[in-house]
């Protein structure tokens, strides 16, 4: 395996991390809420898709179309009935409630599906690849990266080109004044978390078809998502993609040198980026 090939695989892996991170970035941007259960919600969505695939015999890409509105509902309910109660100047309640939720989700899934690792079967797509120039590129990694780009394009379009996006940005800037203009912040927050969870469903289908998963892998996904967001710079979705790519490349290059260094190399790249550029590559938000 050549170095160029390793780096290309890393770039495509970065697409997966950007998908993990896009929802986290959106929710933080709008309500300054860091959801520590984000990774576990990705795993929850992966189990949901697995149930749809194995129970109804659906193709994973069809299952994700059903999972997206379901996860939107999960996000909407979660925000309306739990997380909206925790918002305020104090950062403790949202952190501790979402941390509790993370533990609840992990152990609920353990109880329901045991600790066995699972995988979403995707048929011949799993191993399909196409030759691009000198490289053999897997179809699934390419689809992952393309989905990440599509998700970011659509999100940016929604944020800067629609009434909903204007409501998001207005609530983010000043929830009280936005309320005076007829926007209901709590409902806006619920829609935002719903959208984030729909993106989580997309991330989950690529997580579940790419490799094995079990109920305990959520926190590590949260950390990757977080690293991508911070490296990219708060408030910039394209930055998040860049952060994901840096993380993916660092992991594949580290793993090519020594398989035990794969994860460590990603974390170290994150620390180095943060030391060199404390606000990430493309910082937009002031906080």
């Amino acid at each position: 395996m050549s170095w160029a090939d390793t780096i290309l695989q890393g770039v495509l892996l970065g697409g997966l991390y950007a998908l993990f991170a896009a929802g986290l970035s959106l929710v933080f941007g709008i309500m300054r809420l860091v959801n520590l259960a984000h990774g576990d919600l990705i795993v929850l969505a992966a189990y949901l898709i697995l149930v749809l695939v194995s129970g109804l015999g659906l193709h994973p890409f069809l299952a994700v179309l059903i999972a997206m509105p379901l996860m939107f509902g999960v996000g909407w309910l979660l925000q309306s009935y739990v997380l909206n109660r925790t918002l305020g100047p104090d950062i403790l309640p949202p952190l501790l409630v979402t941390f509790g939720l993370s533990v609840v989700l992990q152990n609920g899934l353990l109880q329901a599906y045991s600790a066995d690792s699972r995988r979403i079967p995707a048929g011949s797509l799993e191993t399909a690849s196409v030759a691009i120039g000198p490289f053999n590129v897997g179809v699934m990694p390419m689809l992952t990266f393309a989905s990440a780009v599509a998700v970011i394009l659509i999100l940016n379009r929604v944020l800067y080109g629609t009434e909903l996006g204007r409501a998001f940005r207005a609530t983010s800037d000043d929830a009280t004044t936005a309320g005076l203009m007829g926007i209901r912040p709590n409902r806006t927050f619920a829609v935002a978390t719903g959208i984030a969870m729909a993106i989580v469903a997309i991330a989950a289908v690529f997580l579940g078809t790419r490799a094995n998963f079990d109920p305990t892998i959520g926190p590590a996904r949260l950390i990757y998502a977080f690293e991508a967001v911070i490296m990219g710079g708060l408030g910039s979705l394209w930055g998040t993609l860049a952060g994901g790519v840096v993380l993916g490349v660092a992991q594949t290059v580290g793993g090519a040198i020594n398989p035990e260094w794969q994860i460590l190399a990603g974390h170290i790249a994150f620390v180095l980026v943060l030391l060199a550029r404390p606000r990430g590559f493309f910082p937009r938000a002031v906080d």
Binding site: L36, L92, P93, L95, L101, P219, I223, E227, L264, L274
Partner: protein, 353 residues
């Protein structure tokens, strides 16, 4: 009519706290002589309670008083434990000296870790500390002489030769392994008392007053010359040192270590967060109440495995949503009783009779 005017003075003591100080002294004395009248299994339970209490107090100092929500306390537990192992296995030091080494190693880690994590604001600080813990775990797993990813055991001969075991053995007429448990228990008691005392003293000092002012209004505190960053760094370092010490002590008693167990986010951070949240965050009494409830729940429900953790998570969420000041906070706000008060009260003057 003017009565005798008592000069103004600032106090933190209350009637309840004076009474509690005497009861606490009795409890500590009863705790010291406990190995005479308690069975070994009860002592081991007490060891568990006391070590969790130290972890809870140090996390509470960070999150409840300095506003630094760490989800990476396992970095300090794990590194403290591994430094203790290195001291005993590689440097052939006495386990008791190695425990100190564990605390020093954790404090030494806190300097670069803090330098890094303090760049992250508020909520992101939490995940930053988690990243630090993951990095330390992955690096330690590469340490082949201490068992790498699979871990290693503490040589039995080394712990049995720990300072004081022969005296305890003769004094209580027990076997060496039991003597090790007794010494670990005493160390845990000492550490718990010292931690509570340290936290209490810190909060009653001018640093504690400065911390409270930063918590209530960071800008106003800065305007009157409080260096919030330096204060938070000091609290972070203190908490890391205490956590490292107790991590090392826990693993002297466990005598078997692996990276996954020593850097477990559930064992060393999730449990601790639930203890503090259930008991009452931002109070010294809260973690004490919390650890007792946590222990009772564990005795009752531990057989249910993941259901137990599920229940604990739900209780934590419900308390945070509906009674964010915790059980002790509820009790204190209803009754006005504070056993370890740190709030300053103005006494004396013409109004006081």
């Amino acid at each position: 009519m003017h009565g005798r005017t008592i000069p103004w003075r600032v106090e933190t003591r209350t009637k309840a706290s004076t009474a509690f100080a005497m009861i606490a002294a009795l409890i500590v004395v009863a705790g010291i002589i406990a190995p005479i009248y308690l069975q070994r299994s009860t002592l081991q339970d007490l060891f568990f309670i006391l070590t969790m209490l130290v972890l809870a107090q140090s996390w509470n100092l960070l999150a409840g008083y300095a506003g630094l929500v760490s989800v990476g306390q396992q970095a300090f537990v794990g590194l403290g434990a591994y430094a203790m192992f290195a001291g005993v296995v590689l440097l052939k030091l006495d386990p008791m000296v190695s425990i100190l080494l564990g605390g020093v190693a954790a404090a030494a880690l806190a300097i670069p870790a803090g330098f890094f994590a303090f760049r992250l604001q508020g909520a992101y600080f939490a995940i930053g500390t988690w990243v630090v813990a993951e990095i330390v775990r992955l690096v330690v797993a590469q340490w082949k002489t201490l068992g790498g990813g699979t871990g290693t055991s503490l040589p039995g001969a080394a712990t049995r030769a720990m300072f004081g075991t022969d005296i305890v053995q003769r004094l209580l007429g027990i076997r060496p392994a039991q003597a090790v448990d007794v010494i670990c228990y005493w160390l845990a008691l000492l550490l718990a008392v010292a931690t509570i005392f340290t936290v209490y003293r810190l909060l009653r000092s001018r640093h504690g007053l400065a911390l409270a002012s930063v918590r209530d209004n960071q800008e106003a505190a800065r305007a009157i010359g409080v260096d919030a960053r330096r204060l938070k760094a000091m609290v972070y370092l203190t908490s890391a040192f205490l956590t490292g010490l107790v991590g090392a002590l826990i693993y002297v008693q466990k005598a078997r270590i692996s990276p996954d167990a020593a850097f477990s986010v559930i064992d060393w951070t999730a449990y601790v967060i639930f203890i503090v949240v259930i008991g009452g965050i931002g109070t010294i009494e809260g973690p004490i109440v919390g650890v007792l409830i946590f222990f009772a729940l564990q005795k009752l429900l531990a057989d249910f495995g993941s259901l137990y953790l599920l229940a604990l998570g739900l209780i934590g969420i419900v308390i945070m949503l509906f009674a964010p000041q915790g059980l002790w906070g509820l009790f204190a706000s209803r009754t006005g009783i504070q056993l370890l008060p740190v709030r300053r009260l103005l006494r004396g003057g013409p109004l006081d009779n």
